[in-house]
Subunit: 134 residues, 2 copies
Amino acid sequence: MTSAPQPVPEPDQRLSLVFSALADPTRRDIVARLTAGDATVNELAEPYDVSVQAVSKHIRVLEDAGLVSRTRDAQRRPCHLEAGVFDLMTKWIERYRRAAEDRYRRLDAVLEQMDAQDAPPVPTPRTTKEADAS
Amino acid sequence: MTSAPQPVPEPDQRLSLVFSALADPTRRDIVARLTAGDATVNELAEPYDVSVQAVSKHIRVLEDAGLVSRTRDAQRRPCHLEAGVFDLMTKWIERYRRAAEDRYRRLDAVLEQMDAQDAPPVPTPRTTKEADAS
DNA sequence: AGCTCATTCAACCGATCGGTTGACCACGCG
DNA sequence: CGCGTGGTCAACCGATCGGTTGAATGAGCT
């Protein structure tokens, strides 16, 4: 019963889980240390001055976010970093980063144009609506 | 200059703020919409069925994380997306993504070697099992 | 069978979060 | 001048979070 089917949430909710998981410094540190290789809960818990249970909870959060997977090795539960999730984040970030930079460049051009001429009919790169995520 | 100098937190804390800010779907959506151009609080609040105050709070969180900046235009406070913060995230992510992938590849090689030692006849079928969850 | 180590479950606690409502401030305009 | 508009501040509320302690489960070792 410990292993439910794990429904794999849809990407938006997944993003929430991932970002939320990485919002905690301890959890980020755990991820960082896991890049050096798999580790057990006790090994991971050792450097921090919190209880093992607390670290176990952290790992659960990382697991729910899909950042970490675990196997069984006797009574140990080694944690393994899942590199795949990073792509999800990178995709999200890159999309908007690029859009933002493009816009910035465009605005820059507009400003230059406005500067070159004097008072063009364009009021401001006003925007309001538009932009749909998903 | 409505408030204190805004000390600009050190990068680790900053990362926490950024990830935490993006952990909320509404806030992510606001960011997404801001890539289409600056917008006021009321404009941003319009699509959601929450109060304007709630959206104002969301924007404050994004601002504290350095994801958006604001200027004054009469009584309006247009929000502007700050593209720079994305770099911070991308750097963090890329670092560990690459490390994780390298490690994966290395492990793969080790496994192959172990396999070869045991069963040398087959000259490496070369079916690098890639990550299925992506 | 016991014992011990590794991990998790369960209950609890204070702090923070996302949301509300109501009052308040800062403009610009008639 | 008063008033409406855009936005924020303040207090409050339920839910969740990160942490604790204490007890339970699971798997090896004599």
